[in-house]
Symmetry: C2
Subunit: 485 residues, 2 copies
C-alpha cells in the first residue's frame, strides 16, 4: 500500500521544495478561503477535539503506524545528535537552577529534568542541525513539538507504546492540519509555523495521553492557541531551535492545566478573535475538520538525508549516486557541471564558504564533499572539512548552469573525468522527498551518524530497536531511558 494514499493532498512535482510550493499553495488557499469565509464553522475546535479524544490506536492503518515509527526514530536521532551542542549547554545552564525533580531524560545527556523542562530541551536539540523531519506542505517540522513533549511525559506517567504511537500520530495530525488551514499567509507574514502550530500538536498529544475528555481537550487546544512561539526573523540564531522546544513545553502546560479544568473559550481556533483570525489573513477550516480519521498528515512526513537546505538535495543525491556507480575519485575528475533551477544559486550560491555553516549554503562545496565523502550529514559540514585542500580543489572545479526548465527538486549533473569520460545523472525526485522516501536502512545510517560520539554504538542500536518496536513496549518511557548518556 502506497503511503502517499494517506496524505490529504499530493503535491506532485513541487514536493521537494517548500519554497517553490508557496506560490501554488497561495493561489489554492485564496480560492478556498473565499468560499469558506462566507460560512464560518462555529465548531472547528470542537470537531478536532472530539476526533482526538475518540481516535484509537486500532484505527491507524499499517502504513501510518510505520510512518510513526520512522518519525520517532528520525526525531530521536536528531535530538541525540544535537545534545552536545553549545545551544543546549546554554539552555540547560540557564534554566536548570529552576527546574523540578529529575522526572525525564534529556536525550544524549546525563541530566534529568522535570517533564516540562525536558520537553523544552529535547525539542531544542532535535532542531539544532535543522536536520529533522519536514511536512513539506507547510514546512512544519512535526516531531519536535510533539515527540519531545510525550516522551518526557511517558517517563513520568507510564503509557504503553501503542498509546504513545497513537498520540504521536494525533499530535502530528493536529499541528499539520492547523498549519494547512493558515498556510501560506501565516508563514509569509513571519511566523515560524513549527512553533506556532506545534503548540497545538503537543497539547493534543499530551492531552490524549492524559485521557482528557472532550471539554478538557477543547480547553487544552484553547490554552495552546494563546501561546504561539516563533518568528522567522530568528533563523540563523539559537532561538530558531528554541521554537519547537518551547512549543512542546507550552502545549504540555496547556494540557496539564486543562486536565485540572482550567477553563478557556471553546472556540480557540475559529472565533473572530481566536487563533486563526489573529495570526493569519486567510484560513480554510475544512483543512482541520474534513476527512478526520480518513487521511493522515504523518503519511506526508519526510526526513532529510542531507544536513542542509532542501534545494541542494537533488545535487547531493546525483553526486553520491554517480560516485557509487562509477567508483569516482576526486583526483580523476576534471569538472562537475550542475544544471539547476534558479533558486539553487539564489539560496546556496556561495562559491568559497569558510565555515561549516556557510558550507550549507554552497552548492559548489556540497557537490565536492559528496563526491569525496559519499555522504552529506552533519559531519560533512564541519569547519575543518570546508577548508580541507582536497575538498576545496574539487569545489573549484564545480560549475553551474541556471536552467528554468529544471524544477527546484530536480538536477542534471555531468561529471567529466580527466581522461575525457563523461557520466551524467538526472534526478527527478531527490531522495528524501515524498515520492522518493529515505529507506529504513538510510534512516538508520543517519541515526548512527548523529549518535556517533554521543552514545556507544550498541546503545544507539538499542534506541533504534526500541523505536522500530515501539508498539510492543509496555512503557514507551523506555526509549528515553535508553537514550540517556
Amino acid at each position: 500500500m502506497d503511503r502517499r494514499q494517506f496524505g490529504t493532498q499530493i503535491i506532485g512535482t513541487l514536493a521537494a521544495t517548500g519554497l517553490a510550493a508557496d506560490t501554488a499553495r497561495a493561489e489554492e488557499v485564496e480560492e478556498v478561503a473565499e468560499v469558506k469565509d462566507a460560512k464560518p464553522d462555529p465548531d472547528v475546535t470542537r470537531k478536532l477535539a472530539r476526533y482526538i479524544v475518540n481516535a484509537k490506536y486500532e484505527d491507524l492503518p499499517a502504513p501510518v503506524r510505520k510512518e510513526g515509527q520512522r518519525t520517532l526514530l528520525n526525531w530521536a536521532g536528531c535530538a541525540i545528535g544535537g545534545s552536545r551542542h553549545e545551544t543546549l549547554d546554554i539552555a540547560i545552564s540557564a534554566l536548570s537552577p529552576f527546574a523540578g525533580a529529575g522526572q525525564a531524560t534529556v536525550l544524549g545527556r546525563q541530566e534529568k529534568l522535570d517533564v516540562l523542562h525536558a520537553s523544552l530541551m529535547n525539542g531544542i536539540s532535535s532542531h539544532i542541525f535543522d536536520y529533522d523531519d519536514t511536512h513539506l506542505r507547510t514546512i512544519i517540522h512535526p516531531a519536535g513539538p510533539v515527540a519531545s513533549a510525550i516522551l518526557a511525559l511517558a517517563e513520568y506517567h507510564p503509557v504503553s507504546g501503542r498509546e504513545f504511537l497513537n498520540a504521536l500520530v494525533l499530535g502530528v495530525e493536529t499541528e499539520c492540519r492547523i498549519g494547512n488551514s493558515v498556510w501560506p499567509n501565516h508563514y509569509d507574514v513571519g511566523w515560524h509555523i513549527t512553533g506556532t502550530a506545534g503548540v497545538f500538536g503537543a497539547a493534543a498529544a499530551v492531552g490524549k495521553l492524559l485521557s482528557l475528555n472532550e471539554q478538557q481537550m477543547l480547553w487544552a487546544l484553547g490554552l495552546a492557541a494563546v501561546q504561539p512561539v516563533g518568528l522567522r526573523e530568528m533563523f540563523g540564531s539559537m532561538t530558531k531551535s528554541f521554537h519547537p522546544g518551547r512549543a512542546a513545553q507550552n502545549g504540555f502546560t496547556a494540557a496539564l492545566l486543562a486536565s485540572k479544568n482550567y477553563t478557556c473559550s471553546d472556540h480557540g481556533i475559529e472565533a473572530q478573535r481566536g487563533w486563526a483570525n489573529v495570526v493569519s489573513t486567510k484560513h480554510n477550516y475544512a483543512e482541520i475538520t474534513e476527512k478526520l480519521g480518513q487521511s493522515y498528515e504523518i503519511a506526508l512526513n519526510t526526513y532529510k538525508p542531507f544536513a542542509c537546505g532542501i534545494v541542494i538535495h537533488p545535487t547531493l543525491d546525483a553526486c553520491i549516486q554517480l560516485r557509487t556507480q562509477y567508483q569516482l575519485k576526486a583526483g580523476q575528475i576534471e569538472k562537475i557541471q550542475l544544471r539547476v533551477h534558479p533558486l539553487v544559486l539564489e539560496l546556496t550560491g556561495k562559491k568559497t564558504p569558510q565555515t561549516g555553516l556557510e558550507g550549507k549554503f554552497s552548492v559548489y562545496y556540497a557537490a565536492a564533499v559528496a563526491i569525496i565523502e559519499g555522504a552529506a550529514g552533519e559531519r560533512q559540514f564541519s569547519d575543518k572539512l570546508v577548508k580541507n585542500p582536497r575538498v576545496t580543489a574539487l569545489r573549484d572545479r564545480v560549475t553551474t548552469i541556471i536552467d528554468p526548465s529544471i524544477a527546484a527538486e530536480q538536477v542534471r549533473v555531468v561529471i567529466t573525468k580527466i581522461d575525457g569520460t563523461k557520466f551524467e545523472k538526472y534526478i527527478d525526485n531527490a531522495i528524501g522527498s515524498v515520492k522518493n522516501p529515505m529507506s529504513d536502512a538510510a534512516l538508520e545510517t543517519k541515526f548512527a551518524d548523529l549518535a556517533d560520539g554521543v552514545l556507544p554504538k550498541s546503545q544507539a542500536r538499542k534506541v533504534m530497536d526500541l523505536c522500530w518496536n515501539v508498539e510492543k513496549l509496555p512503557s514507551a518511557g523506555e526509549i528515553a531511558k535508553a537514550a540517556s548518556a
Copy 2:
C-alpha cells in the same frame, strides 16, 4: 509637581474609558505610521536595550518613583486578593508537581515555588478580579507581567529596593512603549496586549536586575518577541488571567537565557519578520525610541477604585459621593436617574443580574449597591449581594437616560427622595482616572479590602508599609516574604 507632566501624552476627556479612546487613537496612529513606515528605523530594539541597560534609579523623577510605589502596592493587593480563587488553586495543582525548589512566594498563600512558576502564579492572581492597574492609552495592565517576575527574582537573587523600583519603572516603560507602537491595530485584531507586550516588560525588568549588557538585553527582547501570550477570545474565562502570568514567566525565561548568551536576532522588534510587523498592521517606532528617559509611561498608570468595567465608574463615583454628602439611605429613595453615554448601556445594560459576575455588567445594580454599601469593591459583586432583596428593590428604582452629549467618562445622577427632595451630581472625570487619581489612602483601603480574609490585618499593614518604603529596603524580596500566608 503634576504627575501627568511625565506622561508622553495627555488623553484629556477620553481618559476615563479605553473604549472611547480607541477611535481617536486609531486616527492618530494611522497618520504617524504613514510617515514613519517610509523611513524604517533599523535600531529600534537596540535603542531600547541601550536605554534599559544604562538607566539609573537616580535618574527617576520623584513623581515617577512615587507612582512606582503606588503601582507596586496596588499590584500586591490584587495578587493577595486573588490568591484564594479557584483559578489559582487549579493552576498550582496542575503545575506544582513539575516546579523546582521553593525559591519564591506565591503571595497570600503558603506555597513556595521556583521563581518561574511563582511569577506565573502571582501574575495570574493579580488579574483574576480584573481589578489591577490600567495604562489607559493601551489598556495594558502593566504591573502583572513585570512585578510578578521581578518580585520572584528578588527572593532568589537579592536586589536593593532602589534597584527593584528602577526595574519596575523600566519594565512598565518597555511594555507600554511597545504597546503604544502597535496600538490600536494589534488589540483590535484580537491580541490581549497585556500578555503580548507584557513579555517584553518582564524581560527588560528581569534583565536589568540580572545586569545584562547591551547585547544580552537585545537578545532578551528578541527572546521575548518570539513568545507573545494572549487572545481576547479568552476574556470571561480563567485563561484571561493566565496571560499576564505567562507573560511574566516567558519574559523571565527570555532574560535568563540571554544572561547565558543564548543568541537571537538584534532586531526582534523592528525587522521585516520581527514582532511588530508580524503582530500588527501598523506601527510607530517613534513611540519606542523617542524621549527615552524624559517621559515615563508609569506616570500614566491608573488604579481601579471599583471592581468592575470602567464605564460604570462615573456612576459609582457619583452615587458614593451623594450617599456620603447627604447620608442617603436606601429606604428614603424614590428613584435614581442616570444620564449616561450610549456605551454604558451597550456594555453594562443588564437590568436583572443573577450573579456577582453579571452584576459587573449592570449599571442598575452598581448604582444601587453603591448607595447601600458606600463601596464597589470585589465583595460588592458577590452572588449573595446581587440577590439581596434590599439591593434588588433599590436596583429596580434606577432608570437611565441615554445622552450622547455625556462623554463615556462622565455621568449626571439625580436622586429623588420619597419626600420629594432632589440631589444631583455631575462627574467630569471619575475617581481613578489620570486626571482624578485615587488617593494613597483610597489605595490602602482597596488593599485592605482585598487582603481581608487572606492575611491578618497587621500583616496586610506591613506589606503596605514595605511597598511605600521599597526604596529603603536592603532587599526587595522582603515584600514577598511578608505577603506569605
